[in-house]
Amino acid sequence: MTGYLEGVFVLLAINIILAYGAFLPMAAGQLNLGVAGFVAMGAYIAAYLSNEYAWTPLAAALAASIATAAIAFVVAFPILRTRGIYLALATFALGQVVQATILNLNVVGGASGYPVSTFLGGGMVGAVALAVVIVVIALFHTRLGISLTAVSDDEIAADMMGLSVRWLQTVAFTLGSAVAALGGALYAHHFSFVEAQNFGIMASLYIVLYVLLGGTQTVWGPILGAAVFTLLPELLRGSASWRYVIFACLIIAVMVFRPQGVVTTGMLRRLLDVCRPRALPQGGK
């Protein structure tokens, strides 16, 4: 594999992980505009463990993910008291707080960035991404998956059915933050350098856009969204400086013509119907 192709592949793998970080809370009806803050936490905590305590990259990434989950769990309580647009603003502010804190932390280089001493190969990044995809897909085939969808569809009816809306939203937010942190940790160890400037609101917006564009209703949407966002700018490289204009227009077009995202439950069902052999016309017993 050429260096260029491997670079694109690694970026794709990391972006898919980050997309799931934003997808998990979104599946429970919460827009997390501070997701890059959790990515930054994961990146810096993992880098610090590698640099200062000589942890192996994977162990550092895992520990960073767990530590970030713990932080997310604690901040979830005040943050998730807000709803809708206010929740989006609160998470946005949280992301800014994380970024500003890192800029002021000289122990991890402050504004000049933080080099990472150990390196994680592209193959390993891909393998972790695959594991994350499998775990999230499996998770959405459990009762938790349908309960999260129920909460995002109708909080009152979900509550009346005995589901704890607050608990489910806290779980989704915490798990999403853990996944985002894992992505950040892999990023730090593959590119060997992190700087706070990369984890601002633009990064959060991009990650959220992967999910919105791909579709929030199914676990497949974030993969597609991340793939399109990673690969399309590369494919449009030919048109040089215009590629971002074309790209932005495509985003607008999707939002206008398919606001629910490209992949929807209805679309998946139709696809399955086409692929499934017509053995059970009456369906179910």
Binding site: H141, I146, S147, S152, A157, M161, G283
Partner: protein
């Protein structure tokens, strides 16, 4: 008459919205396995009474007693676990879940612990909860809709799905908010069979309904509300003859007389 104790008891329950008394000192008892209708003109507070029993709104004063236990301060999501399930006046199925997934949400009542959340209900077709939900749909004659999304289904079918979802919580009391509204005669008949079957299994039914034929044929007793107050509690037949009830629905004879005179 035996001295059976009531399964549900409202004791002087009141609810205000701003200065408006929507439920005013409401008391009634419901016996186990009874079929009771809550009737009254629009705005009488019937749905509000349901919302208070399920804690969608918290009562301002009074007590709600279930099986001798005061549940006034039990939060909404825990009441279904105590055996109080409901359907909604405007169907509230989850639009992004399939019919089968929707009714599996009904199983949450006794099954929403952290561990239960990892039940792979959609991973293996043979999962016990999935099979159980499928059987319940099949028993209600809704098996063929299991894998469809709810939004595109006919109104009558959606109402019956909501009923199956409520029943999967294994309720002791089922609150039905206008179950027959918007149904055609054959759908109403199917609904009544489903409710008869439910009643036979010992589930107490409290129904808000406008269809007096349905009530007359199905309910043993009616509680009549008007402006948040109970104005009568009797058999459906007696209610139709009760002057207070007639007045609540039609206006007083005097007013009627004036209208005719004008």
């Amino acid at each position: 008459m035996t001295m059976a104790s009531p399964i549900l008891e409202l004791e002087g329950v009141s609810k205000n919205f701003g200065g408006l008394k929507v439920i005013d000192n409401l008391s009634f008892k419901v016996m186990p396995a009874e079929r009771v209708a809550l009737i009254g003109p629009n705005g009488a507070g019937k749905t509000t009474a349901f919302n208070l029993i399920t804690d969608l709104y918290r009562v301002d004063s009074g007590r709600i007693v279930l099986d001798g236990r005061d549940i006034t301060t039990v939060p909404s999501r825990k009441r279904i676990g105590l055996g109080i399930a409901r359907s909604f006046q405007n169907i509230r199925l989850m639009p992004h879940l399939t019919v089968l997934e929707n009714v599996m949400i009904g199983q949450s009542a006794h099954n929403a612990s952290a561990l239960a959340m990892f039940q792979p209900v959609n991973l293996f077709p043979g999962n016990r909860w999935r099979v159980h939900a499928r059987e319940a749909l099949g028993a209600a004659g809704l098996g063929q809709y299991a894998l469809e999304t709810t939004g595109a289904l006919p109104y009558g079918i959606q109402k019956r799905i909501e009923l199956v979802r409520a029943l999967l919580s294994e309720p002791r009391i089922l609150l039905l908010d206008e179950p027959a509204a918007g149904l055609n005669p054959s759908e109403t008949e199917e609904l009544r069979q489903q409710l008869n079957e439910t009643s036979r299994r010992g589930v107490t039914l409290i129904v808000v309904e406008h269809d007096m034929h349905f009530i007359g044929a199905f309910c043993q007793r009616v509680v009549v509300l008007n402006f948040g107050c109970k104005i009568a509690e009797c058999s459906p037949h007696e209610a139709q003859a009760d002057p207070l009830v007639r007045e609540a629905y039609l206006g007083s004879d005097e007013e009627l007389g004036q209208t005719h005179a004008a």
